[in-house]
C-alpha cells in the first residue's frame, strides 16, 4: 500500500504537445481516486506516466517513499488495467491471471493455485481453462482485474475500465469495482470521462483540463462547490445554471431578478461588479405561489428524468433549469416561482473562478 505523489509533473510528446502540464497532486494511501476530464485533457497521459509507460519530461513521481520517476514500469509495483483489457489471447484465463507470477518466477503449481484463488474472488470459477476470446466483455474485464490483483501491487491504475461494457453491465461492474477496492484497500487511480462514474466511485476526484488540474476534492465538494465555471459545467448530470449577473445593493441582479448574495461570496464582491451566478437545477425549488427572492417565469420545456422532471423556465432573456419531483410537474406555460437557497448558489468572477470558499 502506498500513496502517490506527483510534483510539477510534465509530459511533453514529441512535437511539443503537453499531455500533462505541471501537475502536482497527492493520492492518499488506500484511496479510490478518479481522474476526470473531457477527451484529450491528458488523463491517460498522466496515468501512463505514473505507470512508467511514458517517460517523464520533468518533475517527480513518488510511490510510497520511493522515487519512481526513472524506474522501469515493471519495477514500480503497479498494476494497470487497460481499456481493451490487453489479455493475452493465446493463454488460458488461469495463465493470464497468473502471468505476473510467471514473470516473478513462481513455480507453476503455486501460481495456478494463486490464480484459482483470485479467480474465485472474481466469480470466474469454471472459466479458468477458457481463452479470452471465449469470454463475454464483463468476464474479460474481471480477468484483467484478476491479473492486476495477482501481481500484488501497491497501486492499481485503471484506464476507463468500464467503458467497453454496455450500460447495464457497467452499473453492475461499478458496484463490483467499488466493493473490490474497499476489500483490498489498494490505492487506486482510475481514469474516466464519465462524471457520474467518478462521483459514484471515487473517494476523491481530480478534474483536469488541457493537462492542468482544475479542482481536487471529494465528490461532494466537486459537485457542490466547483472551483470554476469549467468544473461547474462538466460535473453533474444536468448542467448547472450559469447566468451573467451584477452586484447591486449587496444583492445580485440576475436576469432582472434581484436575489440574495450567495453565502460564500458575502463581503468579497464590490458594488457593480460583473459576475456569473450559478446554481444546480437540483438545488432550486419551484413553487406555484408567489415567493420572495425567486425567479418568476413560464415553463417552456419539461424533460422526464424518471423519478424527477427537469423544467426549463424562461426568465427574462435567459433560461433557468430546475429539477422537481414527478408529482410536482406543472403544465406547460404555467407561471412559476423558482427559489434559490443562498447557501446553494455560487458566484464566479470574470476569470471564471469561484468567489469565496
Amino acid at each position: 500500500m502506498a500513496s502517490i505523489v506527483t510534483t510539477s509533473l510534465v509530459k511533453e510528446y514529441p512535437g511539443g504537445v503537453r499531455g500533462v502540464n505541471g501537475l502536482s497532486l497527492t493520492v492518499n494511501d488506500g484511496e479510490f481516486f478518479a481522474l476526470l476530464g473531457p477527451s484529450g485533457c491528458g488523463k491517460t497521459t498522466l496515468l501512463r506516466t505514473i505507470a512508467g509507460l511514458e517517460k517523464t519530461t520533468s518533475g517527480r513521481i513518488n510511490i510510497g517513499d520511493r522515487d519512481v520517476t526513472d524506474l522501469e514500469p515493471g519495477k514500480r509495483k503497479i498494476a494497470m488495467v487497460f481499456q481493451d483489457y490487453a489479455l493475452f489471447p493465446h493463454m488460458s484465463v488461469a495463465d493470464n491471471i497468473s502471468y505476473p507470477l510467471k514473470i516473478q518466477k513462481m513455480r507453476k503449481t503455486d501460481r495456478l493455485e494463486e490464480a484459482e484463488k483470485v479467480g474465485d474472488g472474481l466469480s470466474l470459477q469454471g472459466l479458468m481453462e477458457r481463452r479470452p476470446g471465449q469470454l463475454s466483455g464483463g468476464q474479460q474485464q474481471r480477468v484483467a482485474l484478476g491479473r492486476a490483483i495477482a501481481s500484488r501491487p501497491e497501486v492499481f491504475l485503471f484506464d476507463e475500465p468500464l467503458s467497453n461494457l454496455d450500460a447495464r453491465l457497467r452499473l453492475e461492474a461499478r458496484t463490483f469495482l467499488k466493493k473490490l477496492q474497499i476489500d483490498l484497500g489498494i490505492t487506486t487511480v482510475f481514469v474516466t470521462h464519465d462524471q457520474a462514474e467518478a462521483l459514484a466511485l471515487a473517494d476523491r476526484i481530480a478534474i483536469m483540463k488541457a493537462g492542468t488540474l482544475q479542482q481536487l476534492g471529494s465528490p461532494r465538494e466537486v459537485f457542490q462547490r466547483p472551483a470554476n465555471i469549467f468544473v461547474a459545467s462538466f460535473v453533474g448530470s444536468t448542467p448547472m445554471n450559469l447566468l451573467p449577473a451584477t452586484v447591486q445593493d449587496g444583492r445580485v441582479l440576475v436576469s432582472g431578478t434581484s436575489l440574495p448574495l450567495p453565502a460564500s461570496a458575502e463581503g468579497l464582491v464590490a458594488e457593480g461588479q460583473s459576475v456569473t451566478w450559478g446554481a444546480r437545477p437540483e438545488y432550486l425549488h419551484m413553487s406555484t405561489t408567489e415567493t420572495a427572492d425567486a425567479f418568476l417565469g413560464g415553463v417552456t420545456i419539461s424533460e422526464n428524468l424518471g423519478a424527477s422532471v427537469l423544467l426549463s423556465i424562461s426568465v427574462g432573456e435567459s433560461n433557468v433549469r430546475v429539477v422537481v419531483g414527478e408529482d410536482q410537474e406543472p403544465s406547460m406555460g404555467t407561471s412559476v416561482w423558482v427559489k434559490v437557497e443562498p447557501r446553494r448558489s455560487l458566484l464566479f468572477d470574470s476569470d471564471g473562478d469561484r468567489i469565496g470558499k
Binding site: E72, M80, A86, P89, M91, Q104, R147
Partner: protein
Amino acid sequence: MSEIDADAAASQKLRKSERVKRKGNRTSEDGDSAGLGKGRAAAFVAPAMLLIAIFLVFPALWTLYLGLTNYRLTGFAATHPRFVGIDNYVNALTDSRFLNSLGLTLLFVLGSAVIGQSVLGFAIAWMMTRVRKGVKSVVEFFVLLAWIVPSSVSTFLWLALLDRNNGTLNTLFGTGTTAWLLQFPMQSIIVFNTWVGTAFSMLLFSSALGAVPPTQLESSKIAGAGAWAQLRDVIFPHIRSHVLTNTILITLWTFNTFTPYLLTAGGPDHRSEILPVYIYRLALSEGSLGQGSAVSLIMILINLVIALVYLRILREKKS
C-alpha cells in the same frame, strides 16, 4: 383490367423464376459465387492454364524425358540420344559430387535463409520499433537497396568488397591479401545471400510487429517482463504464422537461387557448388544434359515436398 392483371401475374412469375434461377446459381454447392456459370469460368481460366502448360508443365515433362536418356550437348549422344532408364538417377544418388552439393545446399539454406535472413530480418525489424522514424526510414532504405539492386550489380559490388588485392574488406580490417572467395567460399556466399535477402524478412516482420497490440506489450512490461519474456509471451505468439510463411518462402527461394554462381562459380574445387550451380555446370558446362535433367527433377521434387509441407501446416492452422 383482367388482361393487365394477367400480365402482371405472368411477369411476376417470370421474375420469381429468374430469382430462383439466380439463387440457384448462387448456392455454394457448386462453389460458383461469382455466378459466371462453368463454361464462362473455364473460358476465363483457359489462357492462364495454356501458359502454365506451355511454360511449366511441358518443360517439366521434357526434363523428365531427358532425364531418362543419355542426351548430351555435343557429340554423338546429342544427335542420337539413347534411352537409359533410371541410370541417371542411380548415378546421381550415388555420386559423391551430388551428395556433396546437396549437403552444401542444406548448409546454404540453413545458414543464409533460416538463420541469416530470418534472424537478422527479425532483429532489424524489432530494433526499428524502438528507434525514431527517421532512423527507421534510413535503415529500411539501405536494407531494401540490397534487395532491389540487380544481382549482377550486387555481385560485382561484393567482388570488389572481397577482392584479394585492395578489396574493401581487406583494406578495412587489415587482413592482408585474404582471398575470401577462395578461402571461405561457403561462408562468403552465405553472408552474401543473407545480405541480399534480409530485406524481405525485415519487411514481413515489420508489418507483423506492427500488428502486435501495444497494450499487450505494455501489460507484460508492467508485469516486469524483460525483452526476452516479451518476445516469448507476447510477440512470438502473435507472429507465429508470419514466421512460418517467411521461413517457407525464403527456404524455397534460397534453395533455388543461382546468384552465388556469379561470385564463386561453385568453386574452388566444388566447395560452394550448391544444387542450382551443380546442375548448371553439369548440364551446360560439361554438357551432360540427361544427367543434369535427372538432378533437376530431383530438385523439383524436393521443392514440391517443401511446398506440400507448407500447405499442410497452413491448412492445419486454419481448421
